[in-house]
Symmetry: C2
Subunit: 228 residues, 2 copies
DNA sequence: TAGATTGTTAATCGATTAACAATC
DNA sequence: TAGATTGTTAATCGATTAACAATC
């Protein structure tokens, strides 16, 4: 273990490791090598070993990593050994979709409140939660120990909502709105705007709009794949 | 203009430029400098100039970039000067949320068909589209000239759906399922899994679970912000 | 002991930023 | 002409990968 500052790229890979480790655990696989992880996750084994070594000596030479132990360790690193509460602001379609995903429930991350500015939404139910009015935001965040805010409002509302979340004491924000939020450096913000992903995909389309008329059979050979 | 290979990081910034340029255009701003773009988008001005210079000399020394012209150029680079059709597979909550977003409509990217494997979903309507059965996938993709697939099915179905999309001739995939898809290198795949974003946020929470009891007023000073 | 696999250092590769001549 | 800002080269910074001694 060294005490360098950990890069964002490293941190972003931890949940990916965790996800696959959980799968192995369910299948009762006891041990896994960086080689095997790399193959499944499309990552270089050396990179995986290096990532993990930033945080401790979790593996055993000649053996690999103990799956349960590594899960426990990565959870600790990610602060997911305690329950982390999140609030969702914006009870539109996307907000509803997110609150349905219980993905994070497995991982001690839980949406415990939903807010919306629209009076017609307030009081309606999303799963087990009742949509609340914005003027209850601060009090709820504090009383329910909510540390993460998820923004699923339209772009022109996003900065305003972010400001309110920050004023209420939130520590980190996942922003689904297609805007760059301004915030103090102490607040961690992740952009989860899929329009960027989708539009950038178009760049990689084969530019020959119709002129490369092959039968589509050629490229099907299995090859090293690229993913991001 | 040089003819190096363009890195993924560069391509991913193009839609972000485009988004803000569209906003400027709506406000009838005629010209913008890399300086100003950088400030709004939290990017280094030199990086913006360099990104754009990969594709051509779009700016004017001493003046900056013509907003309309730059929009046109970036659209061309991203293949968005033509309509790009996409198919959505998975008519669950997330799928419905996505099909509602008309973000991409502005940008010539359009979801023109929706599929689901669940018989109870087939035939129902999402906006203007009728959910179709999977056995019509290939024929629809070909007849409607669909080039991009969006996967919003549960993780255990994602690889199977990807295989079908690829067999039907799709060129690129936006994958919302929390799985690493395997595909030929010729198929471009972007992962849009927000669970990774959300869980990695937890890493940045202030680890002192309760022991740093400050009043939250301190960190509010405006500082350079960090976003990703 | 032989084979496997880690943790870590060194080498490579790539991306960001600074600096500045060119020029509007 | 003076001020502003590009496009581009060079410098810096950071991340990935290769290689290998240590060791299970």
């Amino acid at each position: 273990m060294k005490s360098e500052k950990i890069s964002e790229a490293v941190v972003r890979r931890l949940p990916i490791y965790l996800r696959y480790l959980n799968e192995l655990n369910k299948r009762e696989v006891a041990t896994v090598s960086s080689q095997e992880l790399g193959q499944k996750l499309d990552l270089n084994p050396a990179q995986i070993r290096k990532d993990l070594a930033y945080f401790g000596d979790f593996g055993r030479k000649g053996i690999g990593y103990d799956v349960s132990y590594l899960i426990e360790k990565i959870r600790q690193i990610l602060n997911l050994d305690q329950q982390i509460n999140a609030v969702l602001v914006g009870a539109g379609n996307l907000g509803q979709a997110l609150s349905n995903y219980n993905f994070y429930l497995k991982e001690n991350m839980k949406i415990v409140a939903v807010f919306d500015a629209n009076p017609s939404k307030i009081g309606t139910r999303i799963n087990t939660l009742t949509v609340q009015a914005m003027d209850e935001l601060k009090e709820t965040i504090q009383s329910k120990n909510i540390r993460i805010g998820i923004i699923t409002v339209p772009d022109f509302e996003a900065q305003n909502v972010a400001d309110q979340l920050i004023a209420a004491g939130i520590e980190a924000i996942l922003n689904f709105a297609p805007t760059i939020l301004k915030a103090p450096a102490s607040i961690r913000i992740h952009a989860a705007d899929f329009t960027t992903d989708l539009l950038s995909l178009a760049y990689y389309l084969n530019n020959g709009k119709d002129d490369t008329e092959d039968d589509g059979q050629f490229e099907e050979l299995q090859q090293p794949e690229r993913q991001s």
